[in-house]
Structures are given as structure tokens and as C-alpha cells.
Point group: C2
Chain length 338, copies 2
């Protein structure tokens, strides 16, 4: 079927979106992006190798408004796509945005989405080089993110883990899942220290891609890397499968954000559900030769990011998760956790 | 909110989609694409300049099933994105696909979408280099298409038209809009010769991007180019605005697909509505120095594509559309034509 005729004001809206991106500080040019949106396609030139990832946030699946505001919808869409580039050790350069806009959405809310995209673009020096608006019954924002490295070999795949490697994770886990519980259960939020509750909420509403940490880990010799979007159990499984190896992890070593265990207790859930299966923390899971761990830890410390060793790579397949009492948890059950 | 845990079988579905793309003939490697989907991002190297466009088809806006089948949904999504590259005179190389999948959609229907994407990829030598699946309340398919040219200057912008240029259009207009009428009104279809009705239907259901024609026009000296997705009136307006010039077009010169005028008559609509404002024909509107028209026409004839001169570029702004009796049609009214 034909797309309905463009509504009066659609082109004005596109122009206003460009203004809002600019106001949010989004860069308009980079070493690679030389013609931004406004033509049939954006034009770029390349500087070595290129990593390209696609991701989307969809109303009712990845967010609802509220608790998200529209700026946070834009932030989350771009952050999630950039997180994939972080996991490649790529330097993010451009993003292309497809926005699906319900008929009832106010133009100002579209502009708030653009402001959120622009804010994250500004934070990471990413050019929003192209975009398209379409009508849609639900709000969605699909982002294609492009990053660069000097050579294809400088990009870190999921497939490079070798037996003997240390397995490490950036930052802290469980915050995004606990933040969702806090957002949905005021009675649980009320039991927490307000600052802790707010940090958990922001972990869900305003995720941060670990781009600088990903670059630093690539520079420190990361052998395999993946971002934690599905939960560390599932994502460790993806890395293990791609590397044809096994990851042995220790549950008690996983770094946990403040308040996550309290939220789990108040919600009557096992803390491991939030920590290891909650997803959307957008931390990086990395494997390193043991003699590279110290250099990697130091490089991340200079960025203010913690790196925690949580296990090792062995020959075999799948993921083993061992709890503090030494009992092995069935990895297949772990994969199914939730 | 957290994305629901991946459903059992999602990874198997992704693997099956890759198999289906392969079965449809979609190439897996190109001179630029060196690592396809399966990691956090695809890896490419570049060969000169790059054009990137984004487009999406959304259930209830760009298609319904039926009359579309799922293979045609995939075909249309990729064709629409590639059409933007055609309008740049780029050689299409890669595409990245974000598929939004309703819970009720059968896995086999997902694979039919992949088969449609793969078929168009095969026809044009495009690598489906990356993709992502997400749950969504409605079916959508957003495509980021990447093309190449030797230099940025070899890519044809909308902005290069100069007073004195000839304005020309590839192929024939009105078929996609008339095809939609035929699909929705069996009583009108019944009045047409069956072959004519079928060609109109296919024009709507299986649009063809003019990639080879776009390359040939770029090679023949195209000064400005745009694809006709919104209707020639609206798209001529975009080209005029980008070029800071005016396009004077003659309605009677527009090339019309067989059956379009009959459909308009049977539907009680002015034929100009289908021809000039229907959209989705995905033909190319191009401006050329007058001394390049013959070479461009010859180059397209070798591809079996007609090129028709329909007007000229003048100083000024906007689009003038003149009918056979010499009466000027108000361009602003023309822009609003539904």
C-alpha cells in the first residue's frame, strides 16, 4: 500500500529535528562523514576498517513512556547501538536513525527523542549522519551505528577466546534490572536510600555505552569481547560458542551495583536473577591472556572504570557458573534463568 | 523496561534466516564486506566513498499481509532502501536489516521475509552484512543500505541542478498507485486485461530499484538526481529546493504505465493523482546538461530502460506543472495533491 501523503509539517519537523540535534551538541562532521542527512543518502569516506551494528528500541518491549521520557528513548536507542561498537573496540563515528512515529505523538516529543539522540552523540563524538521518519502504529527507533579501526584485525571479535584466558567484566552488574523493579514498584523504591534508588533508575533509563573502555581493552590486547545486553549468562554463552571454548565463571566474583541485592530481597527474587540474567547493563565481557590483565585493569582505571576478573576460559563448550559453596550450577539451567 | 528473555528458538531462527538468505542467492562477501552478521557488528573495509541510506516498511503503513505476502515484504523493504542509493549513482554493496517481529508471526513467515530480502540482494549483488531481530507489536523491517563510489564527487546529490538543465525521468509512472487500486478493488481489476492488471499489481508488490540506471546516469553526467518515492510532484519539489532552482514540468510528457489511465477512469479519480502524486514508483528523476541527454538516453537504452525528457530547470523556486492546454497548475496545490 502507498504510504499516506506526508502530513503538512513533516519537512518542517525534519528540519526542527536537525536543529535539536545541533542544540544537543551532536557533531555534524567527522573525519569520515562528509555529507549528512538531507539527500537520498549520507556520504562518507573511510579511514581503515569499519564496524557496523544495528539495534532498535521498541515501545512496549524496550521502553514505555512513562517511566521513560522521550529524551531517554532517544538516549537508550543510540546507547544500545553504540554498545555493540564498544564490544568491537571500535571508535564510534556515525549513526543512522529510523524513527517510527505514531500519529498521536506530538512534534515536541519527536524533538525530545532527537535531543536524547543528540546528547549521546555529543558525549561520544558520533555524527547522526542520516535518518528517516515513517508513520507507525507504535513508537520505535532503529539505529545503525558505524565505527572505525585502523585495520580489520584491530576490531575484537567474539570468537578469539582461548583456553587459559582470564575472563573479566567492566563496571557493575544488575543495576538495569533492579532499576526496572524500582521503577515499577514504588513500595520497593521507598525502602531504599533515595540516592541508591535513583542510581538504579538511571541505570535502566539512561544506559551508558562503554566505548572508551572498549577501545582501551582492544588496545590492551582483548582477545574476545561482547557487550552484556541479554544478561552475562546468555552473553557469556554467545562468546563461548563463537570461540568454541568454555567459560568458567564464579558467581561470587561478579561485581554488583549497590542496592541490587536489597532490591532482590524486597522483591522476593534470587539476586542472581537480576545480576546475571537481567540484561541491559551494557557492560563489556572480555577475555585476556593472563599477562595482559594488569595492563587492561590499569588502562580502565585511568578512565574511572573497574575491571573485575570473574573466571577463566577452558577447553570445552558452554558456560559454567559456580557459586561460593563450590556447587556447580547447571549451565543449561543458568541459560534459561529468569 | 527489560526486553523479555529471548524465546527458545530465537538463535535457531537467526541461523535459519542466514540459511534462507544464502538459499535465495544473497552474496556473503564483497570487496568491502569481510565479516557478516554473527558478531556484535559487521566488519567492512572501504573502497573510496560511501553512500548510506535508511528506509523502513511498516505494517499498516507501507504494506498489509495480504495483499503482500511475507516474501514481498522483504523484497519491498530492501528495494526501497536501495532506491535511495540508485538516486546517488552509487554501487550498492551492503545492507543491514532490523526486523521487528510480532509474537504471533510464524517462524516460517520470518524466513519468507528473509527469502525476499535475499532475492533482491542476489539481483543486485548486495551483501546482507548485519541484522537484528526484536519483538514488536507490529511487523516492521528497517534497512540501512550502503553503496560505494570511487570518490565523493562521483555521487550525485539532489543539489546540483542548474538553470538550463533538461529534466528527465526513467521508466513509467503511476503503476504503483494504480496497482494499489487494483489490489483493493476487484471490480476494477475485472475490467482490465489480466496481464495489464497483473503488471500493475507487481509494480506495487515488487518494486524494482533502478540501481543500474542510476549508475549509468551518474556516468553520463547527471547533475542532480532523486528517486520518486513520494510522487514526482513532491520529489521534484525536494530536488528544486536542494538545488535552489525551479523545475518546469509538462504533465503531458510524463511517461505513464499501461492501464494507469484506465484505472483512474474506473476509480473516478483524475489520472494525474496516480501518475504524479501516487508515489512508490521508485523511478529516478534526473537533471542533465542538454548536451548530455542523448548519451544518457543511449546508456539507459542499453539497459532496456526508457529515459523521457519532461521539462527543464529554470531560475526560481518550486515546481511548475503545465498541462497540455497550456494552463499552469498551481505548484503549491500540486504539492498538496493527494
Amino acid at each position: 500500500m502507498s504510504e499516506p501523503p506526508r502530513e503538512p509539517g513533516e519537512f518542517e519537523l525534519v528540519a526542527a529535528i536537525r536543529d535539536r540535534l545541533r542544540a544537543a551538541g551532536a557533531p555534524e562532521r567527522s573525519s569520515s562523514a562528509i555529507l549528512g542527512s538531507g539527500d537520498d543518502a549520507a556520504i562518507s569516506v573511510d579511514v581503515g576498517a569499519r564496524a557496523t551494528s544495528v539495534d532498535a528500541v521498541v515501545e512496549g518491549v524496550h521502553f514505555r513512556v512513562p517511566p521513560f521520557d522521550h529524551e531517554q528513548v532517544g538516549r537508550k536507542a543510540l546507547a544500545a547501538a553504540l554498545s555493540d561498537l564498544a564490544a568491537m573496540g571500535a571508535e564510534a563515528s556515525e549513526a543512522y536513525v529510523q524513527l517510527g512515529v505514531p500519529a498521536g505523538l506530538a512534534a515536541e516529543d519527536c524533538l525530545r527523542i532527537a535531543a536524547g539522540l543528540g546528547a549521546v552523540a555529543d558525549e561520544h563524538g558520533v555524527v547522526i549522519a542520516g535518518g528517516d521518519l515513517t508513520r507507525s502504529a507504535i513508537l520505535f527507533c532503529a539505529v545503525t551505528a558505524v565505527g572505525n579501526a585502523e585495520t580489520p584485525e584491530a576490531l575484537v571479535r567474539r570468537s578469539g577466546a582461548r583456553p587459559g584466558d582470564a575472563v573479566a567484566v567492566t563496571g557493575e552488574l544488575g543495576g538495569a534490572a533492579a532499576g526496572l523493579v524500582v521503577l515499577e514498584h514504588a513500595e520497593i523504591a521507598a525502602e531504599l536510600e533515595p540516592r541508591v534508588a535513583e542510581e538504579l533508575r538511571l541505570r535502566q533509563l539512561e544506559p551508558q555505552p562503554r566505548l572508551e573502555a572498549g577501545l582501551a581493552l582492544a588496545g590492551a590486547g582483548a582477545r574476545a569481547m561482547i557487550d552484556i545486553s541479554d544478561g552475562i549468562g546468555a552473553d557469556a554463552g554467545h562468546l563461548a560458542a563463537a570461540s568454541d571454548a568454555r567459560l568458567e565463571l564464579e558467581l561470587d566474583l561478579l561485581p554488583v551495583q549497590a542496592g541490587v541485592e536489597a532490591v532482590a530481597g524486597l522483591a522476593g527474587e534470587p539476586a542472581s536473577k537480576l545480576i546475571a540474567a537481567g540484561g541491559e547493563d551494557y557492560e563489556l565481557l572480555v577475555t585476556l591472556a593472563p599477562d595482559r590483565v594488569e595492563a587492561a585493569t590499569d588502562a580502565l582505571a585511568r578512565l574511572g572504570v573497574a575491571l573485575t576478573v570473574i573466571g577463566k576460559v577452558t577447553a570445552g563448550a558452554g558456560v559454567g557458573l559456580r557459586s561460593g559453596d563450590g556447587a556447580a550450577i547447571d549451565p543449561s539451567g543458568f541459560d534459561q534463568l529468569d
